[in-house]
Amino acid sequence: MAIAVPKRRLFGRTRQPGAAREALVGYAFVFVPMAVFILFFIYPMGYAVYISRFDWGILGPLGKVGWKNYTSLWHDTLFRRAVKNTIEYTVWVVPLQMTLGLLLAVIVNQRIRFRTFFRGAFYFPALASSAAITAIAIYLLNVDGLVNKVFGLHKLWFYDPKTALPAITGLNAWTTAGTMMLFYLAALQAIPTDVYEAAAIDGAGPWRQFWKITFPLLKPGHFFVAVVSIIGAMKIFDQAYIVSRGTGGPDYSTYTVVLYIYNTAIRDAQLGLAAASGVVLFVVIFLFTIIQWAFFGRQEAA
């Protein structure tokens, strides 16, 4: 939906008595929100770039280094590892979230009883805080935990470099599926019913209908969910931090880009380097945001 800028009234241009007062009141009403947005959003964006050009310790700037922090990142094996982990996580979690979200949305979109119950149930994990969800996951995936017992395994999950990141991937696919379901549900509503009626008359069963009609017609939906999911995946932090005590372990297998930013800033007090990695992450996220805006901007215009 486009933002409905209120239509200028017929004589809106002529200054009526009271217009100055109205403007003053307007500024007064938006003053505090604007102060917050400028001070804690707009200004920090520039400040991040500024800090990233310094060697910046805990007490302040130690010296200007230009773009050296960015080249240091490029050569930093830990940063490279963090990028690799984050990409690996993204590549797995996005298709999982999309598949699960679509499956749940198709289920909930049927003409069924208890639809509200099912929707509530599927959305339920998305309510919980990341800390609570991670605590539950740590409990269920401990050596004597439910998952190992049910499947007869003795895996260490979060303590094994091979399974730690996949475990986080599964966890987040599960918790975010409900949110993706909501987006897919909205996209499903946009498909006109008569397409299905025509297909049914032609004798297409539900399976064929899904693959020949629903799935291709959901293209804008797939795109939207994919971008939201990718952007979310690149910000992965809480779960990785909590399962590894902030170390990104075992063996750096859960070291993500945001964990790198956090540890570089807070633990190592290298604010310049941390700011540079924040800027790099922002640029990547921004590119995806632009793609999304461009795509959906055109959709609206049509």
């Binding site: 938006v30 804690f40 509530g120 800390a131 609570a132 987006f183 939906g221 939201v228």
Partner: protein
Amino acid sequence: MSEPAAPPFAALEELAAGEPVAVGQAGPTGIPGRARSERIQRAIAYTAMFAISLLFFVPFLWSLSTSFKPLSETANFALLPHNWTLAGYRTALGDYNFARYMGNSAILAVTVTFTSVFLGALGGYAFARLRFPGRNILFFLVLGTLMIPDQLRLVPIYRMLTVFPVTHWNLVDTYQGYWAIRLVSATALFLMRQYFLTIPRDLEEAAKLDAAGFFKTFWRVMLPLAGPALAAVAILEFQGTWNDFFWANLLLQSPQHWTLPVGLAQFVFTYRTLWNSLMAATMIALAPVVLVYLFFQRYFVAGVASAGVKG
């Protein structure tokens, strides 16, 4: 100018309100033999759906059950506790300070919700109704903040709160610092503005003839009409703050300031095998959000859906 990343789909609010959902799969009528196969299909579908919803509930139910087990039983593979006990809750709340964390979480969540709803509504009203030079540019700035990820803000905000510009306050590890950065969100302001735009102007015109001031019009006329939007914003902000780990973990460093998510993480770091207490603390962290969800599901989903849209 278009809303950031809004999906060109049916209104999410409508879905959230549980309106009758348009059915995608049209049931073909008048084809012989359809009725029976459809019934079988339906039975399979229901079984699958209950199985899947079980999959979504089981981890929570299992954890809930564990929170009522004595520590000695937590290694047992039993769905229900043999001896029901509140020991886990007592230990978590008392010995491990979760009562304190709960209080901190409540204070922060409630205050942030109040300021965000009030300032969001006030700003939203101004952007929706009052005319002042530069309004569109300022609103564009508001929307622009939605694109700035928290992960970019981490370093500059941390630095700013360590040595605040001009005043040189140190606001790290204070509630004031946490409040300052969460005082109002662009999402709150945006949602309120969109809602105010849908309210017919006649109602305010009447108030204006009454010579009521702008604030009075806002307070007496507009706010009472904006109930659903206020509820959606309140729930969104409450959940966001109650669940927040990123900023709370960064800024609230000393144990007496920890919120529930931070306390939970720290408990996991140190005492993770006290499973009954850990799960009790987890249930305490979940409870308010779950309760709000059960009672206000429609507003909840509307708010979360529109916030999720921001990406």
